[in-house]
């Protein structure tokens, strides 16, 4: 694992006195900073970006006899973590957020569909049809052919799978042909069997029955309105495949035992919560796989929590479970197979010196606390770098809450030498917290009389900049609609007075979720405008005016693969003289893009 060294002690990274070149260049880092959580444990993948609804699958994609990990968080993309450890001691290393740029739609499955000895990839194509990526490489080096037509049944009709229902492939009856099992909204299961290929080489499937084994999963409350994810595994080691069912209306995992044989399966049995003695309970809609993760001959249970009818906000963290079956029971190995910074959903990072020690600490807030649904939380990571190693240590979260989508902006708003806070919220405007403590030990006190409200809309995202060069800080606030609000400080550095100048500043509309930042990114001495947004990357408006009279010109996007709901935060984390870039996002984690100019 590569950790970045601080510039002062690094031979490779030398702080430069010359200004950074424009445009900047960034390289995504998943590691690079030693991040210690509140339990004193170092996070394995600190900048994986967070997971809200991971759909995992373990397969040996590179033929090295260990299981690599794929995860789907977003529609169309799968993340790839290569197993760089040993078959008996897996160690996953991030390789890509968008594996081979393949668009898998709403779900994916790796399976050797053409039975040529390597894994093909199956996914969804718009809308609810089935895309087949044939692996035309080798078991050691996968290479997927461009998708052709949707997979079709034996009559040539495209296979249709409601896109919220994740199917599974298995040789259910040991006849050498793969079966395709599709859970339906009605709780019944479609059973198809592979019947070879068509003239173009696309596999074809014959519908066997639309009521497989008369299964009808209606959940404990008997519902129709659902979504599901299916998997098979021989859990009782009796030589046949048992069915595991995750469902939107099921907090756990249902097991239907196969009491037949491999050749003649019998799944006409009542579903039971798994494991029977101590059923799993999450927010529901669990996506299951069994795999021998540690090469001990026993298949572990791996599942992601997609979040069903049982408060999915609570599973915005701790949602990638690994459980180890023993003779007695199923033991929880970890609810967080890949540990990283993850505060829930819609993470919002800012950097500031919160303890007055001269370095930049991290505040990262969320949309809603996974543990307290009445509020969001501001998490605090202290910069504890020691001169040679960049290190963050998680401290207790700020005792500030009562609102959602917290978006702090820190600045000395009363010229008393410490940092005050303007805290954007979902629908309560931007709240002013005066620091009644010190620069070293802040104590934030709410002054409701100075709340800044929007004329219309929600999701206030404030930031400060002296936009007119008059020596005091002016205020910009982004909002959910994509508009940008500009408030001129007509007061003083000691007593600011923010007067709304425009609630559609310069007519800028980023689409949705405007998050403004200012930085002299081109090194010309004035502040440029940088805008996070929901999708499409982070926008850059270069200031082609002056420090007193700005002129913002749309100048493309920053060259980095930002997550959905990008919230950029700039800091020279390695003290090499250029501004590195972090971003919050939908996943609730932190993305790190190191500036490679120096």
């Amino acid at each position: 694992m590569l950790l970045l060294l601080l510039a002062g002690c690094s031979a490779s990274r030398i702080a430069s006195d010359s200004p950074p070149a424009y445009p900047p260049s960034y390289s995504q880092e998943i590691y690079g900073v030693e991040v210690i959580n509140r339990d004193g444990i170092q996070l394995d993948h600190p900048f994986h970006g967070g997971f809200n609804l991971p759909r995992p699958q373990l397969v040996d994609i590179d033929g090295d006899q260990d299981l690599d990990l794929f995860l789907q968080e977003l529609t169309g993309q799968i993340k790839f973590f290569e197993n760089t450890g040993m078959p008996t001691a897996p160690s996953f290393t991030w390789r890509s957020d968008h594996y081979l740029d393949l668009d898998v739609g709403e779900w994916y499955r790796f399976v050797d569909l053409d039975q040529d000895g390597d894994y093909d990839l199956i996914g969804e194509t718009i809308f609810s049809y089935v895309r087949f990526f044939r692996n035309e490489g080798t078991p050691a080096s996968a290479s997927f052919a461009a998708p052709l037509d949707s997979l079709r049944d034996a009559n040539g009709v495209p296979l249709f799978i409601d896109r919220q229902n994740i199917p599974t492939f298995v040789d259910l009856d040991c006849d050498g042909h793969l079966d395709l099992l599709i859970g339906r909204v009605s709780g019944t299961v479609l059973h198809y069997e592979s019947v070879g290929s068509d003239a173009s080489g696309l596999p074809r499937f014959q519908l066997v029955t639309d009521r497989f084994e008369d299964i009808e999963i209606l959940g404990m409350f008997a519902t129709l309105h659902g979504a599901n994810a299916l998997a098979f595994h021989d859990i009782d080691r009796d030589g046949d495949q048992d069915l595991f069912w995750g469902d939107f209306f099921e907090a756990g995992i249902l097991l239907i035992e196969n009491t037949g044989t491999c050749q003649e399966p019998n799944l006409r049995n009542e579903p039971v919560a798994y494991p029977p003695d101590d059923p799993i309970k999450t927010s529901g809609y669990n996506s299951v796989q069994f795999a021998d993760v540690d090469g001990d001959g026993v298949f572990e249970l791996l599942f992601g929590v997609l979040g069903g009818a049982f408060n999915p906000s609570s599973s915005a963290v701790n949602n990638l479970y690994l459980m180890d079956p023993t003779d007695e029971r199923l033991m929880l190995t970890t609810p967080t197979l890949l540990s990283g910074i993850d505060v829930g959903a819609d993470s919002y990072p800012v950097f500031a010196d919160l303890d007055g020690d001269g370095d930049q600490d991290l505040l990262i807030s969320n949309k809603i606390s996974p543990y307290d649904h009445t509020t969001a939380t501001i998490h605090y990571y202290e910069n504890t770098s020691d001169g040679s190693q960049i290190r963050w240590a998680q401290r207790d979260p700020f005792n500030i809450g009562g609102n959602y989508n917290l978006a702090p902006a820190l600045a000395d708003l009363d010229a008393d030498g410490d940092l005050d806070m303007l805290l954007g919220t979902w629908n309560s405007g931007s709240l002013y917290y005066r620091n009644d403590g010190t620069a070293e030990t802040p104590h934030f006190v709410l002054d409701e009389s100075k709340t800044v409200t929007l004329t219309r809309g929600s999701n206030s995202t404030p930031t400060f900049v002296d936009i007119d060069g008059d020596g005091d800080l002016d205020l910009f606030i982004g909002e959910s609609s994509g508009d940008l609000n500009f408030y001129l400080n007509n007061g003083t550095p000691e007593q600011p007075q923010f007067d709304l100048i425009s609630d559609k500043f310069e007519g800028i509309d980023v689409g949705r979720r405007n998050v403004p930042r200012f930085l002299d990114i081109d090194g010309d001495g004035d502040q440029d405008l940088i805008l996070g947004r929901e999708a499409g990357g982070v926008l850059l408006y270069l200031n082609e005016g002056t420090t007193k009279l700005p002129l913002f010109v749309e100048s493309g996007t920053l060259p980095a693969p930002f997550p959905i709901l990008a919230v950029p935060a700039f800091v020279d984390i390695d003290l090499d003289g250029d501004m590195d870039l972090f971003s919050g996002g939908l996943g609730g984690g932190l993305s790190f893009f190191i500036n490679t100019q120096y």
Partner: protein
């Protein structure tokens, strides 16, 4: 899917006969069609109680069970379906063979032209009390005349370029009936039709679900369906004239239940995944959240009373039915809840606001709740996965769609296609008796009236 198969088989078989017939004179009902119906089709119609084949009027009025002809829809009309779509298991199937291809082609041609009488009059052209039915499993919209209680038109979405899996889910109608809107949860679109059932607008929309029109301005609000692993946590706001849209964050996952207060100022959105309601002052684009305590309820759909004083919603998982005081529409206050049984689905108020009707999806019945007493006033049994609910303008008739996915309601005929048909129950609101079960396409869902 059903129609595709029908066309690919039956239509091709009839093509020769139809082309031959098309070379002859125009069909005249009394001369060309009526004799065929009276002779060839009459034996097939023996289960259509109350049906008279004496005249164009009586034929178009249908039987006690509903229509036998849907103008412009030869594929969906019972008359033609009986001739070629019956299963061999149905005892009438042998008699169906007596209808020749030539005679069937004449009848189909007549229906394709709108099934006019000798004067060219098209039945139900002036119907005004219309009920729109989304046939989710069949990519069609059925239009029911709420005075005659028959299907009078059918809109085939595939013929308009949408897929067989377009899945129309919900419908909302302009207050003056001049247009209606349909969400396609399969094709990710919201459509606009005029009162002549012509498609006049559409907009791509990610996972659309429930729809509601503002009674006071030109906005259409759109919730989200279940058709995604993680649908957007936003509702859509569509300007109905130009069909332009913007979206508004509602904070919680799976925004589904949707209603608007009679003043048009506040929109209410409920979650399928959390016990939360967003109250949206849409002029200010500012949502406020409310939380309902207790186990996960899964709020399916709202209804607001005609006087705007009360809002109701059912919990799919708990069977609780909630009453909110909306006298201050900006701040709905939960007053109480009652237990109404399994999976209360789409509620609808009677015009006088005295009762609320809804289907219990997993209970196969409809429930009537007395609003003043907050008690169950009655139930109607014999339904099959009831879904949408609507009521006639005079309050005399309640309509409830029945998904009937498991085929619990058998209907009068056994069709070649094993997909169970759906039904719309026509219920007398006073006696609470089912007057008829109108057979529609598979999996009917949302209902809409003006």
């Amino acid at each position: 899917m059903v129609k595709t198969r029908f066309c690919s088989l039956v239509c091709l078989l009839l093509l020769g006969a139809h082309l031959a017939y098309a070379q002859t004179d125009k069909v005249v009902f009394s001369e060309d069609v009526l004799p065929i119906i009276q002779q060839d089709f009459a034996p097939l119609l023996e289960r259509e109680t109350g049906l008279s084949l004496d005249s164009w009027d009586s034929i178009m009025a249908g039987s006690q069970h509903g229509e036998i002809v849907i103008p412009y829809d030869p594929d969906g009309s019972l008359l033609t379906r009986l001739a070629r779509m019956l299963s061999s298991d149905d005892s009438l199937s042998e008699m169906a063979l007596r209808v020749s291809d030539e005679d069937l082609a004449i009848v189909r041609s007549w229906i394709s032209e709108g099934a006019p009488n000798d004067n060219g009059q098209i039945a139900f052209s002036d119907a005004s009390d219309l009920l729109y039915v989304c046939i989710q499993g069949g990519a069609t919209i059925n239009v029911i005349d709420m005075n005659a209680n028959v299907i009078i038109r059918s809109i085939d979405l595939q013929s308009l370029g949408f897929t067989a899996d377009a899945r129309p889910h919900h419908v909302a109608v302009e207050p003056d009936g001049s247009a209606f809107y349909v969400s396609l949860i399969g094709d990710d679109r919201v459509l606009k039709f005029n009162q002549d059932n012509q498609l006049i607008g559409q907009i791509p929309f990610e996972r659309p679900g429930m729809l509601v029109v503002s009674p006071t301005d030109s906005l259409l609000f759109v919730g989200r369906s279940m058709k995604a692993i993680n649908p957007p946590q936003r509702i859509g706001i569509i300007e109905r004239n130009g069909m332009d849209s913007e979206e508004l964050d509602v904070f919680f996952p799976r925004p589904h239940a949707l209603a608007i207060d009679p003043t048009g100022a506040y929109v209410y959105v409920g979650s399928l995944a959390e016990n939360r309601i967003a109250v949206i002052d849409h002029a200010a684009a500012s949502p406020e959240l409310q939380t309902i305590e207790g186990d996960p309820h899964t709020l399916v759909q709202f209804a607001v009373s005609p006087d705007g004083q009360t809002m109701v919603v059912g919990g799919q998982l708990t069977g609780q039915f909630f009453f909110f005081d909306t006298s201050d529409p900006s701040n709905p206050t939960l007053e109480e809840s009652i237990q109404v049984g399994m999976a209360p689905w789409h509620p609808v108020f009677t015009p006088d606001g005295e009762y609320v009707w809804f289907g219990n999806k997993m209970g196969n019945r409809a429930t009537v709740v007395n609003l003043d007493e907050r008690t169950i006033a009655g139930t109607v049994e014999g339904l099959s996965e009831p879904h949408g609910a609507a009521i006639s303008p005079d309050g005399q008739t309640v309509y409830i769609s029945n998904n009937n996915l498991n085929g619990a309601y058998a209907g009068r005929y056994t069709w070649q296609d094993s997909t169970p048909p759906g039904f719309v129950a026509v219920i007398d609101s006073e006696t609470r008796e089912i007057k008829r079960m109108l057979e529609v396409g598979p999996n009917p869902t949302g209902l809409g009236t003006r």
